[in-house]
Amino acid sequence: MSRPVVEFIQQVVNGLSLGSIYALIAVGLTLIFGIARVGNFAHGDFMMVAAYAFVILLMDAGWGLPLATLAAIVIAASLAFMVERLVFRRLYRAPGTTSFTAALGLSTAIQAGVIVVLSGTPRQVGGSWISNVIQIGSIRISGPRAMAIVGSMIALGALAAFLTIGKFGKAIRAVAQNNDAAQMVGIPISRIRVITMLLAGVLAGWAASLIAPIFGAMPSMGVLLTLKSMAIVIAGGLGSVGGALIGAYVLGISEALVAGYISHDFQHALAFVLLAVFLLLRPGGMFGEGTVAMELRR
């Protein structure tokens, strides 16, 4: 293969692994938004706490990969549960900007908490399985990145099944579509909100166990990820799982290509430029119905 072809395929592979990570975070965010109308800026920080737990349990406590992954999921889900019960639940009737601001504050508080408890030193996952690289010609993909691509597809498949098959899944979709109507037919909205937060927490914990082997754990790891995922969620249509999913992969791959072929300076601006274009052309996002302004007024 010629050099430009190798570079192109490598960039697409890089983008695919990025997109998988965005997808797990963005889908969690959009679920929470759909059900609770909360822009959860602390979502990436749930993942960060879980990532630290994952690395510490795996590297220091000698737990195996499955147990450490399970612990990451339990921790992220517990955090999401506590935040829902202690903070968001009290703000459902407040204007959108209130819960928004509360989530921003939580994000800072969680990061500061991790720095106080764990001194904020970044951690990496070591071990031979980490440095395994799958190589086809000159195209390289590391074991952890391949795991992230496969792992996020498994999780998203399971989520799709949960949302379409089970009673709770149907209820979640009903609440996302129309809060009031769902309540009128007897869906216990409060419980659905808790289940959705738990679900988003599980996804964040799963994401942590896939991201930590690639990037390690550090207090600020959730910040840019959450901001970009928020842009994906808005562009994909607030509350739309399909929109978030497609948006995540589109952003991951276009970021890699823009950085590789146009300019690195532009890479991180891309998500937000795309967002601005979307809001101008389709105020409801790819698959959304209402506009962002409408959602925030609710």
């Binding site: 050099r3 190798v6 570079e7 490598q10 960039q11 890089n14 983008g15 692994s17 990025l18 737990a53 510490i56 349990l57 220091d60 406590a61 612990a71 339990v74 921790i75 517990s78 549960f81 506590m82 019960r85 990061q111 500061a112 720095i115 001194s119 904020g120 030193t121 970044p122 951690r123 990496q124 070591g126 440095s131 690289v133 190589q135 390289r140 590391s142 990145r145 991201i211 690639i214 990037f215 390690g216 550090m218 207090p219 600020s220 790891m221 959730g222 910040v223 840019l224 990820l225 970021e255 890699a256 290509l257 950085a259 590789g260 690195h264 300076d265 890479q267 991180h268």
Partner: protein, 416 residues
């Protein structure tokens, strides 16, 4: 009731997990405590001969990025200040009064830096400050010092503009005891040229540190007929992915890579460098060659060069004593920002003693002529309020474990 018990259950699980996580760190906490006891014993001997300081404490302010992606360096700087304060107090204090530190967080952000400086000066009445950590923040604070007539010794920012504006440059309130990038870059560029680097790829943090360092390296490389052929500036706010930049470098004709940034982005950068199978040798400005780095990065650090004004490998009795005291207090090896912050406290102590006062104007005049025999050399401030301690270039060699070797130094930089 049911809700409460469920919440209790979750809290219980969390508590168990935290306890499990804590298991690994228990050992270190104990050693730290034991170690502290030993130094305290040593300190007692001194106090019996000198007499404990009395009266109102003299408060030194600190501004460091205690939270955010540069918090490791901040903990080092604060650690250096803490050690010097403890040593000076054990030896009788300054003007017979004890020293105290008040360290504020600026998250490496200029706006936060300015508000931390105003809080220290206007609210807490602390006018002798050490900081800030990040160049962008220091540059933003400098006009505030001038406006409110407060002093700051900078110990960790490397943008050359700080020196250019200091002293006769227009701002008499800023001093700096760590070298600027205009000192680091020529020392490193010489080593690069010796090793045959012609085309350098730079991956640097997108702020006054990264942009300033890239500029200085370009100038320094051109002296040797080499140049920067690729630049990638990454976001300071938690950028984790370097794969597209590294892919481009891999497919380019760059024959070496310079990384400018701290350990937080550094670790994922090094990991992805290995994943993508790059082979160009690595150089860094900002990554300290420490146990923390080697423990987490592993053998990818093999061959990594860095340039700093201090290494634990500097072989002198003064350095041994400093390292042991720092380890005893903080249970980690010092990096350069701990050393320069430590010396800044001693510089203030000497200046306050010489001035016989803590008034900023008097201390400022005294600092201009103070001489401090620091660990790596004599610290005196030139007319731009810049101290000239040597800069070093070191290389990591990793087999089973990593060791660091100093391969170059320059103690004549910036002689005006």
């Amino acid at each position: 009731m049911r809700r409460t018990s469920r919440l209790a259950g979750v809290l219980g699980i969390l508590a168990l997990l935290i306890a499990a996580c804590g298991g690994g760190t228990d050992a270190t906490t104990t050693t730290a405590a034991e170690a502290t006891t030993t130094t305290a014993g040593g300190a007692e001997e001194t106090t019996t001969t000198v007499g404990a300081p009395t009266g109102d404490p003299i408060v030194l302010g600190g501004i460091f990025a205690l939270t955010g992606p540069s918090s490791f360096v901040a903990s080092q700087s604060a650690g250096g200040i803490q050690l010097a304060v403890a040593e000076i107090n054990a030896a009788g204090g300054v003007l017979g009064r004890p020293l105290e530190a008040n360290v504020q967080d600026d998250q490496c952000q200029p706006a936060e830096g300015v508000s931390a400086a105003r809080r220290l000066i206007e609210v807490e009445d602390v006018r002798l400050i050490i900081g800030a950590q990040c160049s962008s923040s220091t540059l933003a604070i400098m006009p505030v010092l001038q406006e409110l007539e407060a002093l700051m010794i900078n110990t960790a920012s490397t943008n050359p503009a700080i020196t250019e504006q200091g002293g006769v440059g227009g701002n008499p309130w800023i001093f700096r005891n760590n070298p600027p990038d205009s000192a680091f870059a020529p020392a490193m560029a010489k080593i690069m040229a010796d090793q045959g680097v012609k085309k350098l790829a730079v991956v640097a943090v997108n702020d006054d540190l990264g942009r300033g360092a890239a500029e200085e390296f370009r100038k320094a490389l051109q002296v040797h007929g080499s140049d920067i052929t690729f630049e990638h500036f990454f976001s300071r706010e938690g950028q984790l992915d370097f794969s597209s930049a590294l892919t481009e470098i891999r497919e380019s004709d760059a024959d070496a890579i310079l990384f400018v940034g701290t350990i937080d982005p550094g670790l994922p950068f090094l990991r992805q460098y290995r994943e993508l199978g790059l082979t160009q040798p690595l150089y860094s400005r900002g990554l300290s060659l420490t146990k923390q780095l080697f423990d987490e990065a592993g053998d990818v650090a093999n061959g990594l060069h860095s340039t700093e004004p201090y290494y634990v490998e500097i072989d002198s009795p003064e350095n041994q004593r400093f390292i042991e005291a720092f380890r005893a207090m903080h249970d980690m090896d010092p990096v350069y920002q701990a050393y320069t912050a430590y010396e800044a406290v001693y510089l203030y102590a000497a200046a306050i003693e010489a001035a016989g006062s803590t008034e900023p104007e008097a201390v400022r005049a005294a600092l201009e002529s103070v001489t401090r025999e620091a660990i790596t050399g004599t610290m005196t401030f030139d007319d731009h309020h810049q101290a000239h301690i040597p800069v070093y270039v070191a290389r990591a060699t990793c087999e089973a474990t990593c060791r660091v070797e100093i391969v170059g130094s320059d103690d004549t930089w910036g002689n005006r």
